[in-house]
């Protein structure tokens, strides 16, 4: 990668902050879904009954609006914890933008007698918010359950009367994420890429580190934990404060 002389490169901290704000916009969609769902579940509980799939239909106008409004979001919804709903064992109230721009529901076979993919509780986007109680970024990973796309899924736990009720989540296809952050990475004076806490490359302006590959060596989870810029064998590691991604700058 080259930069033209005289071009003032934005400081790395600014790039990390802008990556963060791109994903914070997606987390806004997750937070709205979470708030809508929590309010809905509380309202149904106030009527002295358990929620059913038909109640979740009330979430749809909000979900559709978020798909239209948020450029990066290609799928959004609420994924119920198994046993939450009175009429089905498991459920995804999940809506996606189709290739022609249409908005459609995801209809999965969730019967374990028929589908080998009926149990979704092992996926990071479900397990991380359930186990930590905090919002999470899963991926990049191949989402063969919902979209068949290489994706990031941002999610947050939904609680009802203090108990875990499921997750609110939004999908970002990696190609859209790349389109959004690549101009930022390319503006840096040295080859740059973004990795998740496990070192998997989420976006890259460095041909030596392609999306989906692993950057081995540094303990990126520890870098995120310490939340400050570090140097590892000449690589600068810049955590995107508040988002579990690290900006890696080459020499």
């Amino acid at each position: 990668m080259s930069t033209s002389p005289g071009l003032i490169a934005p400081p790395e901290g600014d790039v990390a902050a802008r990556v963060r704000s791109a994903l914070e916009a997606v987390f806004d969609a997750v937070a709205q879904t979470r708030a809508d769902t929590a309010a809905l579940l509380a309202r149904v509980a106030g009527q002295g009954r358990g929620p059913a799939t038909v109640d979740l239909a009330a979430l749809r106008p909000g979900l559709h609006a978020r798909l239209v409004r948020h450029e990066l979001v290609s799928g959004v919804g609420f994924v119920a914890a198994p046993g939450l709903l009175s009429d089905v064992p498991a459920w995804l109230e999940w809506w996606q933008t189709g290739s022609s721009g249409d908005i459609r529901p995801l209809l999965l076979d969730l019967d374990p007698e028929h589908s080998a993919y009926s149990d979704y509780t092992h996926w990071d986007w479900f397990a991380l918010p359930r186990d930590t109680g905090r919002r999470a970024v899963a991926g990049p990973y191949v989402d063969y359950l919902c979209s068949d796309e290489y994706s990031l899924t941002l999610s947050a736990p939904v609680h009802l009367e203090g108990h875990f009720a499921g997750v609110a989540a939004a999908d970002v296809y990696l190609r859209h994420f790349e389109a959004s952050v690549l101009p930022l990475l390319r503006a840096l004076p040295t080859p740059a890429h973004l990795v998740n806490a496990r070192g998997r490359v989420a976006a890259s302006a460095d041909p030596a580190h392609l999306a989906g590959s692993l950057t081995k060596g540094p303990d990126f989870a520890a870098v995120l934990e310490r939340a400050r810029v570090e140097v590892w064998h000449g690589l600068r590691l810049v955590p995107c404060d508040g988002i579990p991604l690290v900006l890696v700058l080459g020499r």
Binding site: H114, S115, P140, Y144, G212
Partner: protein, 245 residues
Amino acid sequence: MKHNRGGGARRAVFSPVDTRARVETVVRRLGDAIELGLLADGEQLPGESELAAQLGVSTVTLREALMALRQQGLVTTRRGRGGGSFVSLPEEPAEERVRQRLAGWSTEELRDLGDHWAAVSGAAARLAAQRTEPDDLQPLRRTLEEFTAAQDAAARSRVYGRFHVELAAAAQSARLTREQVALQTEVGALLCLVLGDDAYREEVADRHRSVISAVQDGAHDSAGELAEGCVRESTARLIALRLAL
């Protein structure tokens, strides 16, 4: 370049490649789904236009496919109010019906299916070995455990397929994963026939275990060879069974 919008030759280029093959594809897809239990006995299929849209075929093609499925006794159609197309399983034992489906494949087609499957799973295993860290192997380990515990052949076949889909996902390749999912809809229905055998089930479990170990060790060449070997053995068993029919 000379523009010839809407010209006859141009229209021909973009017309469906082979309508007959499409009918067969739809028949095989829906037939396999019924054999695998993905569609239950008595279940109503979506309306014709919706189903056609979901499968990406014209309603004419879909109607022809439904007619073929009715002839095979896998679908019944009721007219009038509350009517539509319903899944109906014939009385004869499931295994016999799957044998009949296997008889619909030539050994050359089975060999080619196996080649395609080995190419996809082998490439996936090689890439996964380069791109995997320990947490990525959890789904494969869980699937292996589920496979060793699965009782009936249909369940074993579904979980066998999931192992190969997860291997492609561990390769971080959406294309290989999509390809593997599509392959499994074809091969899954047939694999029931060889996975009922407990000894072979054990062998497959051992083979999958060694694929996981090689992927974990980053030994990409041996991971690829092990995955290919596993797939080839399954295909060879299907072909041997086909020749014995």
